[in-house]
Symmetry: C2
Subunit: 209 residues, 2 copies
């Protein structure tokens, strides 16, 4: 016979665990954060796990001031991460217009919204931050890269495929030239774009998301 | 006599509700999001509710490219919001160094991490985004403004007061010159810095956070 206390705990556990997790596109299950010594892995993990970030351009509307804008992105279909962030932007938005005039762009991600920083402050160096700097480029819609990017974006952001056609959304990608990662005390970790992009290439699938 | 089933549900509820909520500084309780027609109120709500964002500067390390960095901030002690974001930055970090060479800066916030966008995509215009552009300035540590800023920062980010003294953290503020808010369809809402800063001034306390 099960005691009431046991039943209470079991009931609580069932509620806490909830029903089986649905396969939410764009809400990847958090698998383990890499160790601080694994800089390239940590950077790739941040890119694979997040679904939005801030894209900063040189503003043509604001006489060359930096302009950060909240955007969604994807670096691969869930479970297959490539490291290159793709974006779905309209010329109605200043970021895309800026990039066509001056391609210099940075893309910034935080570990904080993933929930893995716990009670650590978002600015604490152990709550990881990643800034990818490079050139924001249009992807030719007729290319096979565009097919890959669309699939990456639309699986993680299902509503994108229904966004208004007359807004003329286009696919952009960040060609990464510099990587700034802070994931521990002691300043930014040096990671080359090659080291970042090649990470996990020898595995069949990079299971980061 | 209480049935085992009742006890199970009661236990589950107790666990789900958890202990009484502690007064978490920096985790403001989400009070209602203003209506989309209330642009200044929405902008002030986003600033009051968030605790971190992305500060973008003109990078001196990267030959003038824009550089977005994850930072914590506060615009007032919990329950008393003033709209001006204050930051606690060290010269060991590129953002503070950049600002001393070129003050032009933008600060970007998203509604998404507040949890009030639900299943709406972070890039969907109804999931509000705010970019404050202006000049990032050092606050004189001997001023009364510095006392206000320290109190605003340290109540929302309690660990800051224990950050290493030898990192020489200093207080910066954003002097707002331009406001870019998207909180609905139809493009950015025009809000002047005065309209933003004056919002709620006639109330004794601006109860946004």
């Amino acid at each position: 016979m099960l005691s009431p206390a046991y039943l209470a705990v079991a009931g609580a556990l069932l509620l806490a665990l909830g029903p089986p997790l649905p396969a939410f596109a764009g809400r990847p299950i958090i698998t383990g954060k890499p160790a601080p010594s694994e800089a390239a892995a940590t950077a790739r993990w941040l890119t694979a796990q997040n679904t939005w970030g801030v894209l900063s351009t040189i503003s043509s509307d604001l006489s060359g001031a930096p302009f950060g804008n909240v955007v969604s992105y994807s670096d691969g279909v869930p479970g297959e991460s490539h490291g290159i962030p793709y974006f779905y932007l309209t010329m109605l938005d200043p970021t895309a217009r800026d990039a066509l005039k001056d391609q210099r762009t940075s893309f910034t991600l935080s570990e904080f919204p993933l929930g893995t920083c716990g009670k650590i402050d978002p600015e604490n160096p152990t709550c990881a931050k990643l800034t990818l700097t490079g050139k924001l480029k249009l992807v030719d819609l007729q290319s096979s890269e565009a097919d890959l990017a669309k699939s990456a974006l639309f699986t993680k952001h299902p509503e994108m495929k229904d966004w208004p056609k007359n807004h003329h959304f286009q696919i952009f990608k960040l060609e990464i030239e510099n990587i700034f990662l802070i994931d521990w005390f002691g300043g930014p970790k040096p990671i080359s774009p090659t080291e970042y992009l090649e990470y996990g290439k020898n595995q069949v699938l990079l299971k980061l998301s």
